[in-house]
């Protein structure tokens, strides 16, 4: 069984700049996840379909280092 790495987002430092969304070559990301606090009603990136090809370009592009490529844990 092949294990596929996908982006794991750490939103604490995310500035919603969408650089990762545009870096994704297959359109697997979008800014859709609403922020928790409600103060700055930012949208944050997340996977929105199953197109991710594990290329890691999103993680590489993020200036705030908010994205890690990990094998999702399915406990």
């Amino acid at each position: 069984m092949a294990f596929k790495k996908t982006p794991d987002f750490h939103y604490e430092n995310c500035v919603s700049c969408s650089i990762c969304v545009q870096a994704c070559p297959v359109g697997a990301l979008d800014l859709t996840r609403p922020g928790k606090s409600g103060r700055y009603r930012n949208l944050f990136p997340q996977l929105v379909n199953d197109r991710c090809i594990s290329c890691g370009l999103c993680a590489k592009s993020c200036p705030m280092e908010c994205i890690l490529m990990v094998i999702p844990y399915e406990g």
Binding site: C24, L43, P63
Partner: protein
């Protein structure tokens, strides 16, 4: 240049052909990309005397030299053309996500000439470009057309779309080009040029990597900026008190400021934070530029546009590509009478001022409605607002009759008539047809020229030159006159340009009255402001990055890291001077005489206002502009760039490339 694609796409809509051209590195070294690349290409390739709405005009979509490199706030694209509104140089820029999409198709810019026989759109991806039939999209508003084009071209990466609405289709000379559901590259009549070519949209779906000399160094600069912005937090609910700060600002001298000031305001409320400040300080024009805060119920209007009202209905913040600030927002307008519309982009300050206090309208909901109508139509809210305000003043003074206005009671504050009038302008219906080409042409037909606020044919941005004489210089001297984004006293005070440029004077504390005088120091200040503005446009950066100042937004460090260069600020300011000089040469080539561009008398304070912070102010803009031209090495009487200046800047050699 290691941060650019090194290629442009050329499209001829008459023959239906597309070609790719390599751009020599020397061009990027001389003018960067963005507005600079556009100026170089258009000066060379549009013949003198070309009809702006004819096949010889070229419409360019230019990305920025730093777009896509990891540089924050460098995601704006610039549209360039010969302006049908003024007859001279035309440009407009916009945020969103279109700029990186240009580069991801493999180009730094797309230049479109010719005229198609039927409506078409341009589609580009990694494989190339094709011209497709757009008959089914013609007639749709910008939002409808964009969403339909995305849906029908989906399946992989989300396509990014630049599109005209009904105003551009109808060749309104005050129409712009939209993206991201109604964000507009609004100025200079760029939408009419696109409409004249029968080009409904440009759809980009490329996914090529964008190069960068030192991505880690760029990321480090962005991380530093992002952390600073993330730390900004101010107590909730202060928006309701901003008007009071405006009263203080109106009395303040010109002075050095902290660049983070605008960052705080725009992160919390976006540009609407400026509305109450502008109304009470004298920065925002009132009643068709005919009144100051001393003559109107300024506080009532300021409270009507309290930015906290906007925060209450903001569903989500909207960030342009690569922006950590996020001054935009999507608003839920279902609680207002806005026809069939339930959502709109947060209106910009300019829009609020133009359809609010400029027309003596304090109905918040009506401004939201007009914002959405104009965004969908792709009509410039600055030009449209100035034109509507002119019509109201003419009606109030008997220059226009009810018969001429198709029965509309154009009175100050009658927002229902305002809404009906902009609908008529968009569709070129009846009286609206005569206003669809801006205030200069409307006043030539009906009279009331003394109420027609335009600078060289273009309606001015919503900042009063009597409050800021430095702005007056740029409104006139800028090759696309009437713009408010080239330079201001408050901007110069915040930028600390003197710390990166050896010849730029330091910002000092001094009375605003000193800014009225034509001095060599003032000329160097206005030159530095214009050069830095051109530099930022060349890299695709945002005006609000500029306002942060050189210590917070490290543009020079960014360029060196992304391009692999090691130049200093003086070198880059010379690039700014070169871009500005080429744009001025474009005007001279096309017979658009700089010396004939004047501020309307009202904007000069002739006669001066009698009350409030603008009381007694009369400008000396003509003298200041002459000194500004001289500082650029242009003839101080005609504004024509001098041959020796053109030679010194290497422009002759550049035009041979």
């Amino acid at each position: 240049m290691k941060s650019c694609m090194g290629k442009i796409l050329k499209v001829d809509l008459t023959s239906g052909t597309t070609t790719i051209e390599n751009i020599p590195d020397e061009v990027y070294e001389a003018v960067l990309s963005g507005k600079g690349l556009g100026a170089w290409y258009l000066y060379k390739n549009i013949p003198a005397g070309a009809d702006p709405l004819g096949p010889e005009n070229i419409l360019g979509f230019c990305s920025g030299a730093l777009t896509g490199t990891g540089t924050f706030m460098a995601g704006r694209f610039t549209v360039v053309c010969k302006s049908p509104l003024t007859g001279g140089w035309g440009d407009a820029n916009c945020g969103g996500v279109f700029s990186p999409a240009i580069k991801q198709c493999g180009y730094d810019a797309i230049f479109i000439s010719g005229i198609s026989e039927k409506p078409v759109y341009l589609y580009c991806n990694n494989k190339g470009a094709e011209i497709r039939d757009a008959s089914e999209y013609w007639g749709l508003d910008a939002v409808e057309a964009e969403n339909k084009l995305i849906e029908e071209n989906s399946g992989g990466k989300i396509p990014r779309v630049a599109v005209i609405g009904r105003a551009g289709e109808n060749l309104s000379l005050i129409s712009g080009i939209c993206n991201e559901e109604g964000r507009i590259a609004a100025r200079s009549g760029v939408g009419a040029v696109m409409g004249s070519k029968k080009l409904k949209a440009v759809v980009l779906a490329g996914s090529r990597p964008i190069p960068c000399a030192d991505p880690e160094a760029v990321k480090a600069l962005s991380k530093e900026l992002g952390r600073k912005i993330n730390k900004i937090k101010i107590p909730k609910g202060l928006g309701g008190a901003i008007w009071a700060a405006g009263i203080g600002m109106g009395k303040m001298p010109s002075m050095p400021l902290d660049g983070s000031m605008t960052t705080i305001l725009f992160r919390e409320w976006g540009t609407p934070s400026n509305t109450p400040l502008a109304i009470t300080s004298g920065d925002g024009p009132l009643k068709n530029w005919g009144a100051g805060p001393g003559e109107m119920h300024g506080i009532r209007h300021a409270m009507a546009f309290n930015p906290e009202k906007i925060n209450k209905i903001e569903e989500a913040k909207y960030h342009c590509y690569s922006c950590p600030l996020g001054c935009g927002g999507r608003l839920d307008i279902s609680g207002f009478e806005c026809g069939d519309y339930y959502e709109t982009h947060k209106p910009e300050y300019e829009t609020i001022q133009a359809f609010g206090p400029l027309c003596v309208n304090d109905d918040f909901g009506s401004v939201l409605y007009m914002n959405e109508i104009l965004n969908r139509a792709g009509m410039d809210t600055i030009s449209a607002g100035n034109t509507v305000a002119w019509a109201i003043e003419c009606y109030e003074n008997g220059i226009l009759t009810k018969e001429q206005t198709d029965g509309l009671e154009l009175k100050w504050g009658n927002y229902e008539a305002e809404i009906e009038l902009i609908r008529k302008m968009i569709e070129r219906d009846g009286f609206g047809n005569d206003l669809a080409d801006g205030v200069k042409r409307a006043s030539e037909k009906y009279g009331g020229k003394e109420y027609a606020m335009h600078v060289g044919g273009q309606e001015p941005g919503m900042h009063d030159t009597r409050n800021d004489p430095q702005l007056g210089i740029h409104m006139v001297a800028e090759p696309a006159p009437g713009k408010h984004t080239i330079g201001m006293a408050i901007q110069y005070g915040a930028m600390s340009i003197c710390d990166i440029c050896s010849w730029a004077p330091p910002a000092t504390i001094h009375s605003k009255k000193n800014d009225i005088e034509a001095t060599e120091e003032m000329a160097l200040i206005s030159k530095a402001n214009a050069c830095y503005s051109m530099l930022m446009d060349g890299i695709g950066s945002c005006y609000y990055a500029e306002m942060m100042g050189v210590h917070m937004y490290k543009a020079i460090e960014y360029i060196n890291a992304a391009a692999g260069w090691e130049y200093d600020g003086d070198h880059y300011m010379e690039i700014g001077a070169r871009i500005q000089t080429i744009r001025q040469m474009f005007n001279v080539k096309h017979g658009y005489e700089p010396s004939e561009v004047k501020l309307p008398e009202r904007m000069q304070g002739k006669p001066p206002l009698k009350n409030g912070p603008l009381k007694g102010v009369t400008l000396k803009t003509d003298e200041q502009v002459a000194m500004h031209w001289k500082a650029f090495g242009w003839d101080e009487k005609s504004g024509h760039p001098l041959p020796e200046t053109i030679e010194e800047l290497g422009i002759n050699r550049l035009m041979e490339m």
